[in-house]
Each structure stands twice: as structure tokens, then as C-alpha cells.
């Protein structure tokens, strides 16, 4: 009964503190929105292309027809000159333009091979990713045209067989990352700042002046934070899936389990920070110092495989790394918890180690 009252009180305190609550919840959501907006064009599979036909022959018309068949391209047929195309690309109304050269006319006149015919492509230099796709599709198209035009025999073909029907989008990759970032930041900063503030205000001492076992108070705080992290995770999943096309490919239940269990590590770290900080502002600063590098190094926003060897070895010893791996495995590949034995073991060891340190460093009283 006492514990239940404590827990309810902890929840009230947490959810009435609007400003802190807002930052705790809004910060990760902000990341979802920002990254979501960046990658919103990704996966829609289209590029706006203008074709400027300077040859105007049967063949060039066939090429235009062929390009129109490519689903990837949305052909803009209103643009007829190079100057217009350049302007449109600069204005962002067009992704690329291809010029069919006049020299194409020569193709029909002689039976022998004409000198090489060059197609010119303009693109927006600032949109490299998009251009890579455009270039890929265009060169494939030109190859095909070459093959057909020369009637070359096809020795090899590539028979495609998709092993995984799922198409993983960047947002899918990002979603568990932001969940991890959110639970880590909330856990460390939240507990560290709350506990140091309670100590500064002598609330912890006041509680110790009652016969209530102090651990009950701490457990009620931890539970309140788990509720907060649960809501935060739900909010992130909702916004990412509803507005930015993200998909959780695995079991939500497993994902939530990992989220809550993983949070324990960072709550423990929060208690450690509160243990070594005298003031709440010191605790806030130290939390950032611990949280920020972990946020970037543990593969929250991008895969860590591209990092240099030395950094990789640091990445491996961070507590967020195994948690992040496990959450991604569940969210992207529908991994079962049993198959994540190693990661779960690492998370478990981290919980035990941080708890042991927290128990030694965290004090109810400043003296």
C-alpha cells in the first residue's frame, strides 16, 4: 500500500513537471521528425526527368518511348531546350535531364557503326544520392539500347531471386536507434538530475527521517521512469510509422521488453552520476558527457561498420551497443529473444555491473 502510494506520487511528480516531461518526450520525437523529413523522398522510387530530343528520328522516339516505360522516371515533356532544363534543375523542379544528340541521325544513314554517340545528362550536384539512382537506371537503359541496337547475343543473364521480401528503409533502421537514444537520455539525465535535486532540497533526507526503507522510494522512482520510457517508445513508434513510413518488422512485444530491460542500465548510470555529482547542474552536465558520445558511437543514427578500427573497439564496450544490436535485430529481422542470447547476456552483465557501482556510489545524504 505504502509502495503503491509512493509509485503513484512519483508518477504525479513526473507527469506534472510539464517542462521536463516535454523535453524528455519531445527530444527523441524531434529526431524522428528531422530524419524523417530528410529521408522522405527515399523509397518513393521516382525521379523527374526531362528529355531533350535533338535528333528527332525514329530511333530517338523509340528511346523516349523506352524511357517512358521505366517506372522510375516521371518524364517532364514540357521542357524542350537545354536552357530550360538547366533552369528547372536549379529551381528544384527537375532532378535530371538527358540530351539525345543530333549525331543520332547518322545511325540510320549508314550500315557501318557510326562514331560513338554520347548522351549528355545534367543533374543537381547537391542531390548526389538521387543522382546515383538516376545514373544507375540510365546506364542500365543505355546498355540495353546498345545490346538491342547491335543485336549482340546475350551470354549471361542475371536471374534475380529476392531472399528477403522486406525492403528495409532508413527509417526502419533509425526507429530502434531513436528509441535507444531516448531511453538512454531519459534514464541517465532524468534520474541523475532528479536525485541530485531531491538531495539538494533535502527531500531524500526528509524521507530517511521516516521509517520507510529508502530502497522503496528509489524503486518507485525507477518504475515511474519505466512508465515514461514506455510512453516515449510508443510515441516514437507511432510518429515514425504513421508519418514517416517506418515499419517495425519484428515483434513489438520483444521490442518493448528490450526497451524496458535496457533502460535499467541507464537508470543505474543515472544513480551513479547522482552519486558523484554534488549539484543538479553538475549531474546534468555529466549526464550529457556520458550520453552524447554513446548516442553517436553505438549506432543510433548510422551503422558503425564504417568507423575506424580503434573507434570500433570502443563502440564494442559501450553498454548501448549490445542493446542497440538486439533492438535492431528484433525491429528489422524479427529476431527471437532466444537468438539474441549473447546480446541479452551483455545487457544483463551491464545491468549487474552498473547496479553494483550505483549501490556503492549513490548516497541519500551529501555528507
Amino acid at each position: 500500500m505504502t509502495f503503491f502510494k509512493l509509485f503513484i506520487a512519483s508518477l504525479k511528480i513526473m507527469f506534472r513537471d510539464w517542462l521536463t516531461l516535454f523535453w524528455g518526450l519531445a527530444f527523441p520525437v524531434m529526431f524522428v521528425v528531422i530524419f524523417g523529413l530528410f529521408s522522405v523522398g527515399e523509397g518513393t522510387g521516382s525521379a523527374r526527368l526531362a528529355i531533350i530530343d535533338r535528333a528527332n528520328t525514329e530511333i530517338s522516339r523509340q528511346i523516349i518511348e523506352g524511357l517512358s516505360q521505366v517506372k522510375f522516371f516521371k518524364i517532364n515533356d514540357k521542357i524542350a531546350s537545354e536552357a530550360e532544363a538547366r533552369k528547372a534543375i536549379q529551381d528544384g523542379r527537375l532532378d535530371a535531364a538527358i540530351i539525345i544528340p543530333e549525331s543520332l541521325k547518322a545511325l540510320h544513314a549508314t550500315e557501318s557503326f557510326p562514331p560513338q554517340i554520347a548522351f549528355t545528362v545534367f543533374y543537381d550536384k547537391s542531390n548526389l544520392v538521387e543522382y546515383e539512382l538516376v545514373r544507375g537506371v540510365l546506364s542500365q537503359f543505355i546498355n540495353e539500347v546498345n545490346l538491342r541496337a547491335t543485336n549482340a547475343p546475350r551470354l549471361f543473364t542475371l536471374q534475380e531471386e529476392a531472399l528477403d521480401a522486406r525492403r528495409i528503409k532508413y527509417m526502419d533502421f533509425l526507429l530502434p536507434g531513436i528509441m535507444g537514444m531516448g531511453l538512454m537520455m531519459n534514464g541517465i539525465i532524468g534520474i541523475a538530475v532528479d536525485m541530485t535535486r531531491y538531495r539538494e532540497q533535502r527531500i531524500l533526507k526528509r524521507i530517511r527521517a521516516t521509517p520507510l526503507p529508502p530502497r522503496l522510494f528509489l524503486i518507485s522512482q525507477v518504475l515511474a521512469y519505466l512508465v515514461l520510457v514506455f510512453l516515449q517508445a510508443t510515441l516514437i513508434i507511432f510518429i515514425a510509422t504513421a508519418f514517416f513510413g517506418a515499419t517495425v518488422h519484428g515483434s513489438l512485444l520483444n521490442l518493448y521488453c528490450l526497451t524496458l530491460v535496457g533502460t535499467l542500465i541507464f537508470l543505474n548510470i543515472g544513480f551513479i552520476v547522482a552519486g558523484v555529482s554534488r549539484t543538479s547542474s553538475a549531474a546534468s552536465g555529466l549526464s550529457q558527457v556520458i550520453g552524447m558520445p554513446m548516442m553517436f558511437l553505438s549506432g543510433t543514427f548510422f551503422p558503425t561498420s564504417g568507423l575506424p578500427e580503434v573507434v570500433q573497439s570502443i563502440v564494442q564496450i559501450l553498454p548501448l551497443t549490445p542493446l542497440m544490436k538486439a533492438m535492431r535485430a528484433v525491429a528489422l529481422n524479427d529476431a527471437s529473444l532466444v537468438s539474441l542470447g549473447l546480446e541479452l547476456l551483455q545487457v544483463g552483465v551491464w545491468i549487474a555491473v552498473t547496479f553494483a557501482i550505483a549501490a556503492r556510489t549513490f548516497k541519500f545524504q551529501a555528507d
Binding site: 500500500m1 505504502t2 502510494k5 509512493l6 506520487a9 504525479k12 511528480i13 506534472r16 513537471d17 532540497q201 533535502r202 527531500i203 533526507k205 526528509r206 524521507i207 530517511r208 527521517a209 521516516t210 521509517p211 520507510l212 545524504q365 555528507d367
Partner: protein, 342 residues
Amino acid sequence: MPALALIVLTINREQQSVKHCNPLAEVSVLLIMKLMAVIKVEHLTKRFGTLVAVNDISFEVEQGELFGMLGPNGAGKTTTLEIIEGLQEPTSGETWVFGVDSHRESDKVKQKIGVQLQASAYFDFLTLREILDLFASCYGHAVDADAMLESVGLLEKRNSLVKHLSGGQKQRFSMVASLVNDPEIVFLDEPTTGLDPQARRHLWDFIRQISTQGKTVVLTTHYMEEAQLLCDRVAIIDLGKIVALDSPANLIHNLKSSYRINVTTAQRLPAEIFRQIEGVLTVREISDHAPKYQLQATKALDSLPSLLKTIEREKIPLTDIEVLPANLEDVFLELTGKELRD
């Protein structure tokens, strides 16, 4: 001593009136009552590094007493209190509350005492009612929070947050929060520090109220008049030691100079004129806008006739005479040679 006398007296009376009753039983009951000085502190010392905050203090507080610890900031009052409450470990020495060691069995002690900490805040986002409720549940009690708030005039604030209270209201709330477990002993650490005189007087009424309910009250203060007006007994503490412990009246009575005679004159005089007056120990010029001299005297009755004669003889242009009893401020000054500043 008075309790012992009472025992003897009771034994005699029992022997005379109820012959068949075993007098020893009566004696043991009374002895237990005497031994049950509700708080007992023995040779308590607390060091923080090289600083000796509490230096070999021993005292007892009796049931129902309003006991004050008076001393300047940093004298060791709070440390002593918190060791008795089981919140700090002593370096050496022992403290008992109701005969229970406040360290080895601090939970038992905490159940029976109410604690108001110095300048303690309460949760920012809970209402007064919710805080009382929460603290009561820490003791496994349920309280009528509204009734408790009403008793300190805070009923209409029951759904407010602590940060919306005035200084006086905060202190009243913090005092009533220390009563949620209906404790037998209430510890109030600097309950009126930082309050304006009116709020302070208001709070004194509540402290008296708690005391008249039969609870033992231990309070610390650095306000001389607070100790003098409220307390049955006062321990004067300086540099971690008790320099005197008695009722305020006795403390003052035992002073070498129990009275102050303030003489205001129309023009400045050499202070020596007053030195020859009978029973005057010291003379100080304390002029503010008018020339004013303070004579410290053993007995006002002895000194006044002599003073009047001197005034007549020396043709002193007198404008006013005040006769004031000494106060705890003077006691502190005489015992420590320091002023107990406000």
C-alpha cells in the same frame, strides 16, 4: 533531584496509607519513569575531518518538555539533532530515544519521532494534501490531511503546491508534516529562521500547541527570545559544547549581572560618573541619537537609589531611565564572551 525526592515522598506515603502494598513495586515504577528520560545523549562527539562539530556533549530531555538548543550557526545544534534522529552516525558517544539506541535500531526510533529538517523542501509537484498523505504512508499511517492542515491554518491551501506558499506558510506546513505519525517527540530544527516577526510569533503559537498536546518538543534556534519565551529548558551551545543548561529564568538569575539600567541624558557625560554606583559591574556607552549609558547591575533595587542620588548630586540632565532584566543574550555573552548575533 526533584524526581528522587518524589520517589522518597511517594514511598513514605504508600507505607503510611496502604500497608499491604509492596512499596518496592511503586519505587520501581517511578524509577522507570525517571529512567525514561525520553532522550539521553552521552559523550556524543562528531568530527568532520579535522573539524569537531560536536564535542563530548551529554544531556537528557524529559517527557513533555519543551527543550531548546540555543547557539550561533555552526555551533553543532543540527548535527546533534540529526544524530539523535538517526540521520547521522556519531564519531563516538551514544544517543537513546525512549531507551532505544538511535543508531542500532534507528527504524524503531524513527517510527516514534517527528522530524522537521532545517530548510527542507518538499516535492515540487505534489499538493499539500498529497504530501501529507505520502508521508503518513511512509509510517504506515493514514491521516486526515484536511484536519491537519486546518490546525495550522492551511486548509484553503490544501490543493496548492509548496512553491506557492509564503515563508511562514511553508514552515507551518513543514511543521505539520512532522506530525503525520502522531509522534511522541517532535524535533524542530530552526523552525523560525528567516521569518518576519509576525510569522515567527504565529509559529510560536503552534509550537506551544504541540507542546500542550503532551508531546516532547526539541527545537534549535539562534534567536535568543525564541528560546527564552518558548522553552522549559535551554541548552546553550557554542563550538560543539554545552556551556549552560537550565531553565531560561535560572540561566538569567545565575548571571552576575541580572539587570540592565539604561540611562539617557540630554548631554554627553564621562561614563566614569556611573562607575561608583552601588552594585554596578560595568558601564557601556550605547548612545544612538541621544547620549545613552548601559549599566549592568547585580540587583536593580540596590543600584537605583544610589543612581538617583548620583544624578541629583552631579546635576545630570536626565531624560530617561529604563530598567530591564537580563536576557539569554546576556547569558550567552557572559558565558562565551561573544554576541549571539541575529
